[in-house]
Amino acid sequence: MDQLIQSFFNLEILSQASPILLSGFWMTVKLTLVVVPLGLAGGLVVALASTSRSRLVRWLTVIYVDFFRAFPPLVLLMFIAFGLPFLGFDPGAFVAVALSFLLNTSSYYGEIFRAGIESITRGQHEAARSTGLSGPQTMAYVVLPQAVKNVVPDLVSNTLEVIKLTSLASVVALPELLFAARQAQSLTYNATPIIAAGIIYLVCLWPLVRLLSRFEHRQIALH
């Protein structure tokens, strides 16, 4: 027990490591605030493209979505972080992470938005058009608000996954929470920073998990 406290819950080590952990935490927050809106916007574009009248555009969207859903996010990240410099463009860790997350999460968010749009009956569309709204207006004011409302649980679930995924940025040395924890561990020769990072993730993400659990039960129970 003593050894456990010494190695995992060492307060002295924690106070030494807390500045690094704190700056890592803020980097994770910053990353989340960049990556989630970017993914949502990208996903919306993907979903709108998948309802396009042009068959070519729809077809390209399916390829895009399937391609990036088949790639593990870490593979994509490494490919962009290590491959792009060979094209004479070194994006730096933050941009590499943002770019690979955009490609990955926009295809997931895109599928969710598409399912939402498809859940709105044609009648809504036709009724809106017959009142004189234009096609884009119908999409923006009638279809999308209802579509988004229908897929809120999936959007929250995917957002939780995206936030958890930001920990991958540690692999390309972006100093976010996990990277900071590992750095602090190697400086202090003690595992407390890693446990602390785990607890920080837990405290921040637990409310989302609870919320989701409630959504899921309601969703399956309705069917």
């Binding site: 190695s7 790639f71 593979v75 490919f79 692999v171 996990l178 890693i194 039960h217 129970a221």
Partner: protein
Amino acid sequence: MQLERLADTFFNLQVMQQYLPKIVEGFFVTVQIALAVVLAGIAAGLALALVRAFRIRALNFFIILGVDVLRALPPLVLIIGFYFALPTIGIRMSAWVATWLALSLVLAAFAEEIFWAGILAVPKGQWEAARSTGLSFVQTLTDVVLPQAVRLTIPPLTNRTIAITKGTALGAVVAVGEILYQAQTAYSFSYNPSPLVLGAAAYLILFIPVVYFGRWVETRFAWKR
């Protein structure tokens, strides 16, 4: 000229030929971990959901707590915790085991929630009818409720399983010799990104069929509205 340089950088046949055997080796390691994770994760998730059906308060409290923790923690944090933090209290495991255990636990947590939601979705009347024909609680659970529950859970469970299997790439961080690790090592030896292209191709070969399988399952087992 530009194009030639590009081809030489990303599709360098000489480099590819040299490292292809390594990538193939990694391919089988990835498949191996993925299968082990799917088996262990789903079995453990199902077992936990069944235990939860007995509604023993103290036990359920710990199941819910454990599931929540595993859903809130990033899998990479778990892997790193298992591999780098546990040894400091004398618990040692190989990188393979750390990756497998972390991903299996995460899958088990998600699977438990999905199975449990499925069990709850079976109408109460089914329970009552089965019990009144003389079936015991356990028989009702396994022979009447579970088969109906499992059908409901197949689409969400398939999607979640696919997402978690892709996490096998995280093993590269603790040097499990799977595809990404092999590609990354080859890249740093040759200082040429062609092995990364090979690795990416290996993932596509492995996961495109899986993504399509997931789509098929979604339409095949779609909930009747």
